[in-house]
Symmetry: C2
Subunit: 350 residues, 2 copies
């Protein structure tokens, strides 16, 4: 019996179905000025007008965004830091310094993760396993990114005035956080559905050999393709099973590649696909080229727009697939390719 | 009932006790030349004489160490890559490039983690939860570090010829890997005990404000102290409960600080404490100053010497606490402190 119970959580080759789907009991989004001026601007909990968020460096600014997101998600849940058993989080900076300096004061045991821009998917996946598995009553999953810090880390400092090709994306300045808890412990607002994480499909590294750090959408699209295809196969479903299939930050270039790759396998997601990187900025007026990117892109879009649609029952079931490009300044300078990874999370309004 | 079962896994404030303690069914250690010449040299599966491991850069060399460790741990278990459901791993390099390029070819879904030199503790902890929770039948936990890559990443390139103070540690060149599986699935060698992960205590970030990247033992000791103290309190045990209490890479400086901090709380671990960073190099002949460090330090010591003692029943129960210093080149250059983190894993021969 115990053996049967355990087996049933593993679905297909690489997916997991939760027996006690954890509930997202709180969510918070802190965004930068440019993000605040975009189409989702009115939905963010806080928009920081100051790009340095009152700090002295881009790295400290990003830590502050994360600190504010953690504070806000606790406040909205009516919880204290001591109510959270584990924090799962990470960011884009080398050695996760935005996270380390952003959440240290909370004194919550930390599971530090790195999945590039797929980090929110990885954080929610691990957090969901911790809650469903009975290892934690409440888990905080969080990530962040900052435009200026990411440019400095991966490409050129802003002062250099480098030109951006049209395939380049714009790293979102922002931090998104959710608190996951046992479904039964949620004192839900009676008018709203419970928002639960029903299952996950952790992704593999996929490397088609692209070497252009200014075209990350193309580098990540094959990883998104593999994870989404595997999700369909593992659960035996078609694209229409989901009201929306939402990638993290493929942007305009990557979106088309993803749709084409899936079409070759007879999966047509063209009518229900959405990309956070495309939604977060206005293509015509905001000059962000291929769209938004960064850990913060999918995180703040999820914790604002996507959750709103689920809470309003406009969507009942979404497949949320944050996508990451596993490059570093060093690997890029040494002429290595840009491998991609994508972690899928099934989120339902019930 | 289901509620009771779930509650019982959470122990005290931040520990977990596994109901079906996962078994370490295979382990592998790949070490560099200097490590091979040290006291544990004869216990490593492979010693690489070439510091570049046949590659063109330190980063590629580290990826190759990890690739070899993954290959060896699979080979020793008689398993293929497709037998492993998830891989949990990370390294010290920014954006985990040693891991990304080291394990991509295995095509195993990746949970990328960063815990600085505590990474092996974090990987084994997450791996154990995946197996105990029924989310995976077999998980590969892996980490690596490389002396030259770490010096380049965190301090100065070797060519610069920087002098090393006596408080500095020597980053271990090596990679260690274990495969975790359900205890019942283990076809154990009848003469050897099962080696199981009985419980874990994930650690918090602890920052006493030290800013010296050449004295990481002192920066990490407070984190080890907090995690070990919490482990004692959560499980209601005294230091003698463990045959050995084994920190990752505190070295000579950090070891004394840890023992003193615990003594102030009336815990005396002086007789059963051991530090991987002290064991791996010979103090008199190898000129490594404070001792060994790096993700690879605790990983190769665990997968060689520590597991051997457990398999021979010289020790029956150890508390393994890899310790990490959460600095980056950027945070150090910006004058930030070096926060520490430590994740404890209870390993038993049964």
């Amino acid at each position: 019996m115990s053996e049967n119970v355990k087996q049933s959580k593993m679905v297909g080759k690489q997916s997991i179905l939760f027996q006690n789907p954890p509930c997202i009991i709180s969510a918070a989004s802190i965004a930068g000025k440019k993000e605040g001026e975009g189409p989702l601007g009115s939905l963010f909990d806080v928009v920081c007008e100051d790009p340095l968020v009152g700090k002295n460096s881009w790295e400290e600014a990003e830590s502050e965004l994360m600190k504010q997101a953690a504070g806000k998600v606790l406040e909205k849940a009516g919880l204290k830091n001591t109510d959270i058993r584990y924090l799962v989080g990470g960011d884009l900076l080398g050695q996760l310094i935005a996270t380390s300096f952003g959440i240290a004061e909370l004194e919550i045991p930390l599971i530090g993760i790195y999945g590039a821009c797929s980090t929110m998917g990885e954080a929610m996946s691990i957090g969901a396993m911790l809650v469903d598995g009975g290892y934690a009553d409440k888990v905080l999953a969080i990530t962040s990114s900052h435009f200026a810090g990411a440019e400095k880390q991966f490409r050129f400092p802003l002062d250099y005035g480098n030109q951006r090709p049209y395939s380049a994306s714009w790293t979102v300045t922002g931090s998104g956080a959710v608190i996951l808890a046992d479904r039964n412990s949620n004192k839900k607002n009676s008018s709203e559905p419970n928002i639960v994480i029903k299952g996950i499909t952790p992704g593999k590294i996929v490397d088609y050999g692209l070497k252009d750090s200014m075209n990350m959408g193309a580098a990540m699209a094959p990883a998104a393709f593999e994870t989404i295809k595997q999700n369909f196969e593992d659960f035996g479903v078609q694209p229409s099973y989901y009201d929306k299939i939402i990638t993290g930050d493929l942007g305009y270039v990557g979106k088309n590649i993803l749709i084409d790759l899936l079409k070759e396998k007879n999966y047509d997601i063209s009518s229900n696909h959405m990309d956070c990187g495309i939604e977060i900025f206005d293509k015509d007026s905001q000059d962000t080229h291929a769209g938004g990117s960064g850990c913060g892109c999918s995180a703040v879009t999820f914790t604002s727009y996507i959750l709103k649609q689920l809470k309003e029952r406009s969507w009942k079931r979404v497949l949320f697939i944050p996508t990451g490009a596993l490059l570093s300044q060093v690997s890029f300078n040494e002429g290595k390719s840009v491998p991609g990874i994508a972690h899928a999370v099934i989120v339902e309004a019930e």
